[in-house]
Symmetry: C2
Subunit: 220 residues, 2 copies
DNA sequence: GGGAGGATGCTAACGCTGTCAACATCCTGC
DNA sequence: GCAGGATGTTGACAGCGTTAGCATCCTCCC
């Protein structure tokens, strides 16, 4: 990676890309500024012309990771046929989003972990009280919006009863995110692929049942 | 913290305690071996007589954190009155466990994060395929056992239908653990205490509904 | 066209970390 | 009472994030 001129021309992006690769391979802790600079063929301090700190570099990677997560969710959304009835269609979409989320976590554990890491935990001294919307860190705004819209649709079609509406997105997100964590860093690390499929299906069932009361009789 | 004799006498425990305090204040990343040694009043390398590596020190803290989590869950279990009927009693217990789990996460974020961190992510080169039981890392075995027993009880009393039994613990754990993560590192960081109570209650409701189909009619 | 000056890169250095090797001290069992 | 293992110390190394000061290049304005 030798560059012809003294100036790189696109260092910020190149560093972000290199750092993203590091995150892919080893999660957020593997994102080391000097290594990224080395990969790009530039001195470590050159990075400081484009990122104020190590934390900012990680934050850039976090953005990339969150975008890829959103892409994966979109792909899963399009992978199965829409249903004619809006109610079941909303349920299908919710499942698809959860599926995409979990597939991304399993396929790209390093990026997934980075998307949810807390860069500069003690750096930003005084965390201002802000709305949940703003606290979303912007990076994860796309995946969250997709979830919001689907839950909203679920409520609009009547599948999600009004008394269950409050915090319904958070419940769904919690279950799916928690499973991802347990699969990646927790007690489910050593699951066989087969077991993984089962537990993913079970949790998505549980989410659906927690939002849409199951009809009487045995489930499909 | 001056000690009378050349030998400390209980360095391993002292280091673990100091490291635990660091974890309390700043999470797993704040557990730095040299700082723990400094606090105890001992040279950094003395730690290596008791811990093979930084990772092992963190692992010790992880154990402590997991134990405190289990304690908190037990406390919450005893905080409300048992119900006469075994079915509702099992449901009460499940809720209490989730509540304790989440309170601990909120009250001791540093320890909670440490309990679920992945020390020496790349250290243990070849992760042998092992049972879920063994993958549990032992540290978290107590909280998991409590959950298992309660879900088992739920099944025994018939509250949890047989077709919903498989992976039911994991579903419950996922939802609660995911919420903890979202509250600590995720988009719910900036929740007001009031909102936090609401969302905790909602997720516990969702877990219950995902396991025990709600009876028809409006919920309490 | 040719400087002025900002943008971008470099080297050197600081303090911090985990870790190792070699040495010092203490305690315990024969 | 002493040999040897257990435990603690000093010194050093490489790697990290970060800063200061210097070098190079590009752009824009006269």
């Amino acid at each position: 990676m030798t560059r012809p001129s003294y100036h790189h021309g696109d260092l910020a992006n190149a560093l972000t890309a290199a750092a993203t690769q590091l995150a892919r391979d080893g999660g957020p802790d593997a994102v080391v500024l000097r290594e990224a600079a080395r990969k790009v063929g530039v001195s470590a301090t050159a990075a400081y012309r484009h990122f104020a700190s190590h934390g900012e570099l990680i934050h850039a990677v976090k953005h990339v990771a969150a975008d890829r997560l959103a892409e994966r969710m979109k792909i899963e959304l399009a992978r199965t046929q829409p249903l004619p009835d809006p109610g079941p269609e909303a349920v299908r979409r919710l499942r698809a989003l959860g599926n995409g989320y979990l597939r991304f976590a399993v396929d790209e554990p390093g990026l997934f972990r980075t998307a949810f890491c807390n860069p500069a935990a003690a750096q930003v001294a005084t965390v201002e009280i802000m709305s949940v919307e703003h606290a979303l860190d912007m990076a994860l705004v796309d995946p969250f919006r997709m979830l919001m819209e689907t839950v909203e649709e679920l409520a609009r079609t009547g599948m999600l009863a009004p008394e269950r509406r409050p915090w319904a997105e958070i419940f769904a997100w919690s279950a799916v995110h928690g499973l991802a964590m347990l699969l990646l860093d927790g007690p489910l690390q050593a699951c066989s692929p087969d077991e993984r499929e089962q537990v993913i299906a079970r949790v998505l069932d549980g989410v659906a049942d927690g939002l849409v009361p199951p009809s009487p009789g045995p489930r499909a």
